[in-house]
Amino acid sequence: MITILYFASIREHMGKAKETVELTENITTVEALIRHLSETNSAFNQLCQSANSPLISVNQVFAEPSSPIVFGDEVGFFPSMTGG
């Protein structure tokens, strides 16, 4: 199982801040996780089609589509940052 966190405009779009996903043997990378979420959740699919695709973190470190995902990971999806 992994934990997925959504932030800011993406949290509002998804209608939730957090969810858990059971890892299957197909989900070994960020890219595969995104494919899985797009297939199972229309709000997430919509997000991926938009011009501003989300930024991604794994265990609170910026991640790439090729980054590995393992049991217990915390994956974050969020928009471009606007602090300062």
């Binding site: 966190l5 932030f7 800011a8 405009s9 973190s57 609170q60 470190v61 910026f62 974050g76 969020f78 928009p79 471009s80 940052m81 606007t82 602090g83 300062g84």
Partner: protein, 157 residues
Amino acid sequence: MISVQTSDFELEAEYTSLRNHAGDAGAIVMFTGLVREICTAQSDNPGDLDKTERLFLEHYPGMTEKQLEKIAREASERWPLLAVRIIHRVGELFPGDQIVLVATASSHRQAAFESANFIMDFLKSRAPFWKKQTSSAESRWIESRISDVDSLKRWRE
């Protein structure tokens, strides 16, 4: 030292504390970011000005601190810094409120100026904070500026 907090900060207390930690510093630079009433982040068209009534600052607890630590560490690797202090406020803020403090201490002014500038540039685009602006007309998430991302390029060597 890094703090992410809802409460305000006292510049004089932060200055004194930084000075006590900085040993034989010859220069201290303190940058304070404030919430502006007029916010143009969403548009470059001056006709679209919208007065901010309040801002809500969301962040990613845990990752925020890690990113700020990383940015401070990178600054310390590039310049001979004696002390670094970063405070970023979160939660509800109003026009005129202090939102961010970046303070650096070094033997010489150039290192203190440049490192504070470097930390602010990276903080804006690489630390997971998001601003939601509420005006009389609406509430909306502020979008990142291309100029903020571009400003990171000048630090690449």
